[in-house]
C-alpha cells in the first residue's frame, strides 16, 4: 500500500510539471488527455479500492436500532440497484419530496431502513466515526458507476428549481475576498499556481470536474466525497461553512451534473 501511494505521488508530480509546458492547442485536448491519464494511473490500481471494499462490507452489515442492512436502499433505480445509480444522481425522489445527492440519499436509507440517527453527521469530522463509514459507502457506490455516463434527469420541476439555485450560488460573490465559484471556475484554461481549474459553466469542464468526483486525493492520502470537495472549495472561497447535505451543496451538484450531462463518469477519481 505504501509503495503504491509513492508511485501515485510521482505520477501526480509529473503531471504538475507537464502543465507548465502545455501549449493552448494541447489544452484543447485536455479532456481526452485526462481520460488517458486516468486509465494509465489506474493500471496500478486505485487506492479507493480499499475504501470501496470496506463500503461493500458495510452495505451488507446489520446496523442501527432496526438491525438491518442497506441492501434494500433505493438510490433511484429501485431497491438494491447500485450499478449505474450514482451516475444518475442528484435526482428528485418522490418518497422524500426532495432533490437528493448520493450522500443525502444514503442518509435517508440509513434512517428509514436501519434507524441510524444521521443528524450527528454534520458535526462529525471528515474521516472519523460515522463520517468515515459514509465515505466508505460512497466509494463503494460510485465505483459501480465507473464507465457510465453522467445522466441526471432534468425533467422534474424540482430539478429545474435546484439548477437555478445552484447557478445562483455558483456566481454568488461574498466573503473577505469577494470570491464566488466563478472567480476560480468561470473561465476557460485558467489555473491557480500550477493547479488547473475546470470551467464549470461549460459542458467540457463540468463533465471533467463533476465526472471525476468523489476521488482519492494522493497529496493527503484521503478519499473525499463530493460534499467534502465542495466544503473545501467554500473554505478556499473564504466563506463560512456549508452545512453537510444542505440545499446549496445539492443545488451546486445539480448545476455541475446537469452541465456535464452525457460526459464520462470516472469514479472514484484520482487527484493530486
Amino acid at each position: 500500500m505504501r509503495n503504491r501511494t509513492a508511485q501515485f505521488v510521482m505520477a501526480a508530480g509529473m503531471i504538475a510539471l507537464n502543465v507548465t509546458t502545455w501549449s493552448p492547442s494541447a489544452l484543447a485536448d485536455a479532456a481526452t488527455d485526462e481520460i488517458a491519464k486516468y486509465r494509465e494511473m489506474l493500471a496500478d490500481g486505485n487506492p479507493s479500492e480499499l475504501v470501496a471494499a470496506q463500503g461493500e462490507e458495510l452495505w451488507k452489515v446489520k446496523r442501527g436500532t432496526k438491525n438491518a442492512t442497506l441492501e434494500q436502499c433505493d438510490l433511484g433505480l429501485g431497491p438494491g440497484v447500485i450499478k449505474g445509480a450514482s451516475a444518475q444522481l442528484p435526482r428528485y425522489f418522490k418518497d422524500t419530496g426532495r432533490v437528493q445527492d448520493l450522500e443525502t440519499r444514503l442518509m435517508t436509507c440509513m434512517e428509514t431502513l436501519q434507524g441510524i440517527d444521521t443528524k450527528e453527521l454534520s458535526k462529525t469530522k471528515w474521516g472519523k466515526g460515522e463520517m468515515e463509514k459514509m465515505e466508505a459507502l460512497v466509494a463503494y457506490v460510485v465505483t459501480e458507476s465507473n464507465g457510465h455516463k453522467i445522466n441526471v434527469d432534468m425533467r422534474p420541476a424540482q430539478m429545474k428549481k435546484m439548477y437555478e439555485l445552484g447557478k445562483m450560488a455558483f456566481f454568488y460573490r461574498g466573503g473577505a475576498m469577494d470570491f464566488s465559484c466563478a472567480t476560480c471556475h468561470g473561465q476557460a484554461d485558467k489555473r491557480i499556481r500550477l493547479q488547473d481549474l475546470p470551467d464549470l459553466r461549460e459542458h467540457k469542464g463540468a463533465a471533467a470536474g463533476w465526472g471525476s468526483w468523489p476521488a482519492y486525493r494522493v497529496s493527503n492520502g484521503q478519499f473525499w466525497t463530493m460534499q467534502h470537495r465542495l466544503n473545501d472549495c467554500y473554505r478556499q472561497q473564504r466563506f463560512p461553512e456549508p452545512l453537510y447535505g444542505s440545499d446549496v451543496t445539492i443545488a451546486l451538484s445539480v448545476y455541475l451534473a446537469a452541465n456535464g450531462n452525457g460526459g464520462p463518469v470516472l469514479t472514484p477519481g484520482l487527484k493530486r
Binding site: G174, M177, D189, R191, R201, R238, F239, E241, L243, T249
Partner: protein, 185 residues
C-alpha cells in the same frame, strides 16, 4: 467592520442563508453581500453605468500611505506574494495573511508556479517605470482593485483588511525595485 452598514440585505431564511454556519474566524455574516458583490454575481458584468458607479464609490475607500512612502523591502514582499494563507476557517487569526498574488499572477523571472487568473506582472517596474502616477495607480489597485474594474476577480487587499499598509509597501517594492526578481533576471 466599517463595511457592515453597506451590507446589501440581510434576508430572511433563504436557501443560501439556511445552508451555512459560522466556523472558526469566519462568521456567518461574511456570506451576506456588499452592494457591489451582489451586482457582480452574474455570469456577465452589470451595465457600464452600474460599473462606473461602483468604481467611483470604491475609489473613495483607498487610503494612500500617510508618510508618503510607498516602498518597503522587496524580499519581504516576495514572501507575501507567494503566501496564499489567511482568512479561511482553518486560520487562527484574521491578522496574519498572505497576498496570494502568485495564485493569479506571474511575477518573478524565477517562480514558475504561478496562476493565470490575472495578467502577467513580470518586469512590472521595468516596463512601467516608477513615475508618481504609475506608483499611485498600483497602490490603489492593490488596495482596492474594484475601484478600477468593478467586478475584478482580484481581492481588495487594503479595503478588506487582508494586508496591512506595511505589507502592501513590501509588495510594492517587489513590483518596482530594480533588484527584485520581478525586474532583474
Amino acid at each position: 467592520m466599517k463595511k457592515m452598514i453597506t451590507i446589501a440585505a440581510i434576508l430572511a431564511v433563504t436557501p443560501m442563508d439556511a445552508s451555512f454556519r459560522s466556523k472558526g474566524i469566519v462568521d456567518k455574516y461574511r456570506m451576506y453581500q456588499l452592494d457591489f458583490q451582489k451586482a457582480c454575481s452574474q455570469d456577465k458584468d452589470p451595465s457600464k453605468k452600474v460599473m462606473q458607479a461602483i468604481e467611483a464609490e470604491q475609489l473613495t475607500t483607498i487610503r494612500y500611505p500617510a508618510d508618503g512612502k510607498y516602498f518597503g523591502d522587496w524580499k519581504q514582499g516576495e514572501k507575501i506574494a507567494v503566501s496564499g494563507k489567511g482568512l479561511t476557517w482553518k486560520d487562527k487569526t484574521p491578522h496574519n495573511n498572505g497576498g496570494g498574488c502568485y495564485n493569479c499572477h506571474q511575477l518573478s523571472h524565477h517562480e514558475i508556479a504561478y496562476g493565470t487568473i490575472g495578467p502577467s506582472l513580470l518586469e512590472y517596474g521595468k516596463q512601467r517605470g516608477n513615475g508618481e502616477e504609475m506608483v499611485k495607480y498600483t497602490w490603489g489597485k492593490i488596495y482596492n482593485a474594484k475601484a478600477f474594474n468593478a467586478c475584478s476577480r482580484m481581492p481588495r487587499n487594503g479595503d478588506a483588511e487582508i494586508l496591512t499598509e506595511q505589507q502592501m509597501k513590501h509588495v510594492m517594492a517587489y513590483l518596482f525595485d530594480p533588484n527584485s526578481p520581478v525586474n532583474k533576471k
